[in-house]
Symmetry: C2
Subunit: 430 residues, 2 copies
Amino acid sequence: MNAPLKSFDEACDLPALMTELASGARRAARVLALASSEQKNTALAAMAKAIRAASAQIIAANAEDVAEAKAHDATAAFIDRLTVNEARMAAMADSIDVVRDIPDPVGTISETWTRPNGMTIERVRVPLGVVAVIFESRPNVLADAGTLCLKSGNAVILRGGSDSFRSCSAIHACLVQGLREAGLPEAAITLVPTRDRAAVGLLLTGLNGGIDVIVPRGGKSLVARVESEARVPVFAHLEGVNHVYVDKAASLDMAKTIVLNAKMRRPGVCGAAETLLVDKAAASAQLKPLVKMLIEAGCEVRGDSEVQHADARVKPATEEDWGTEYEDAIIAAKVVDGVDDAIAHIERYGSHHTDAIVTEDSKVAEKFLNQVDSAIVLHNASTQFADGGEFGFGAEIGIATGKFHARGPVGVEQLTSFKYRVHGTGQTRP
Amino acid sequence: MNAPLKSFDEACDLPALMTELASGARRAARVLALASSEQKNTALAAMAKAIRAASAQIIAANAEDVAEAKAHDATAAFIDRLTVNEARMAAMADSIDVVRDIPDPVGTISETWTRPNGMTIERVRVPLGVVAVIFESRPNVLADAGTLCLKSGNAVILRGGSDSFRSCSAIHACLVQGLREAGLPEAAITLVPTRDRAAVGLLLTGLNGGIDVIVPRGGKSLVARVESEARVPVFAHLEGVNHVYVDKAASLDMAKTIVLNAKMRRPGVCGAAETLLVDKAAASAQLKPLVKMLIEAGCEVRGDSEVQHADARVKPATEEDWGTEYEDAIIAAKVVDGVDDAIAHIERYGSHHTDAIVTEDSKVAEKFLNQVDSAIVLHNASTQFADGGEFGFGAEIGIATGKFHARGPVGVEQLTSFKYRVHGTGQTRP
């Protein structure tokens, strides 16, 4: 059960290997598309059980990965993302239980209608096919992505960062055990069995129709590369340049609570706020306490001249700051002339991810929610809610900022497509 | 009102022109996204009225296009597609009335739910943005695409075949008049004002984020080019290699009616059947009458050895026939070993467009409908129903065979995306 470091010969025929993996995944996808909810849930239950049982071995395999990463002078943040401990293993298994409890979207009929000629048309959910997930160091992505794809009836090809290879192999073995126990094909969850980085480039080609969609999970450079090179659809967000706009009709207490949470709860997540916009009409009352609160919470504030004027500790913001995702305890702050100016600023500098307004004026809120062209727009709530779990989707494979197919948190439902089933009694077209 | 042949200087800066068109369309898209249903319907009513009023001028402009095409030795089929006459003009205007009557999808809330913390989340439909439609000779595509995009709140950039330039300009003028009367930006429906073929290549680049999706309408070479070169999402089908499977439990009368309609109603449309599959278990009773009927209706039948044996007039089918979209009165025919063999044949040779089964056995029908991985699967109905109008969508901008975002007939609903609107009362994330 312990994770062997399968070291494929560097001279191995990688394109042939990847094509073979994709063919296996495609065959598995056909079986999965028709698998019953019970069979998939049996597999998921067995996976959670296997993960719990193998926890110690997985942590041991992970320790080898961590030791190697440390020997290569990895940063503390990198080591943190790479590390799995007992708490993280427990969370991983619990998360599989959550995915098991999500309703199975496959085969559900979203609409049914009858035509004047008597034909009944149903729109029914079907899986997408083969999903490729390219991730970096967090080994838990493997379990999340593998189980979400299984639940939605998709086969998945996973390619983790080479630093996490032993950890991923150990976790993957547990998922495969679950598939086996449920009588499902092992290729349904395929881990690319080599550290060779050229595998990523091959996945991005789509392997001649072998891959239907790619989900990159990791830093900006990975996402940017996938978005520019991929020859198949991609579910991703490059960055979250998210705004909180505090309107003149905001409750100051609520504004403080939301701004603090939106920026500082976890400054590094994609739903974190990066820019604070304050309405000029109430800036005299609101700006100073908001800025003071942020600075005293340990957040660097970079402001325009009015914001600098509110507090001597504010640093000057440059044009670049308005479009920057800091992923850190830094916020850009600007005074705007009402909701229209806020909307225009967000249109110009935002990344269409998640933006919030704080106001007691429902008309102004409605305008903001309608006109800001982002996947998630919130009224009187923190941007940090940008998360599939917080949306009630159980889990997410990622967050998408594109407008096609998937938008916002991508859960099992958005890992499906649909088809039309038509029931006739001999109808022909006049 | 008559259509001038705007002849842009060949030395004009086409990339600059196209970028400017895309910027104008983007600005118009922002206005359209927020336009009321009433305003859009006012525009549509005015467009239909303008088309009816200008019918004679449009037909005159079209006559010039037709004369030029004839002078260049265009085929009769090409001339037929290019020609507009009074009946076609009336149908065009009627079609705009149908689009006006379709419910406006923009702003409709497809789901609402409340989280345990009291936040309410709404999933609301929003337009996609800027659609580019590249079509060949049929001028009616301009009116269909322009009005469907308007109804769904999208701006559209239309590029018609250069042979139809005068006809398109004349129709376009009527659509612009409708926009003007409703106070909507004229750039909402933009016709590329040059015959320069390099404009197509520029549209396919996506014009630096200026275009959100491309819809090609035309022959296979156009669609194949768009699918291989486009740097933005494409809604399209390359071909419709559609099957009718006649099961052993089929009513022979119904099978004859459906097969005849599926192939011969209009052999050139994308929903036409290209392959007939007959169940071995009933071939002795069904094959002969089906083949006889087709041949006597003027259809060439290319069959495997068993089909050849059924009728001396059957020509031998080659491997290539199973994957061919004839778009003509020709059908490939094969005897298969039950529904599983039929499904396997369709999986191997089909194009995931539209496939039908004829049977009185509901279990067998269910298996076929579930396992055939096509956008549209029908039981006891003709494949020629593959059409947005026949589905009750009012009209369609095209039919998609991809699984992402749009699948099957693409009507106004599938020309939209969605966003999440979150209503809170000060919630922060723990």
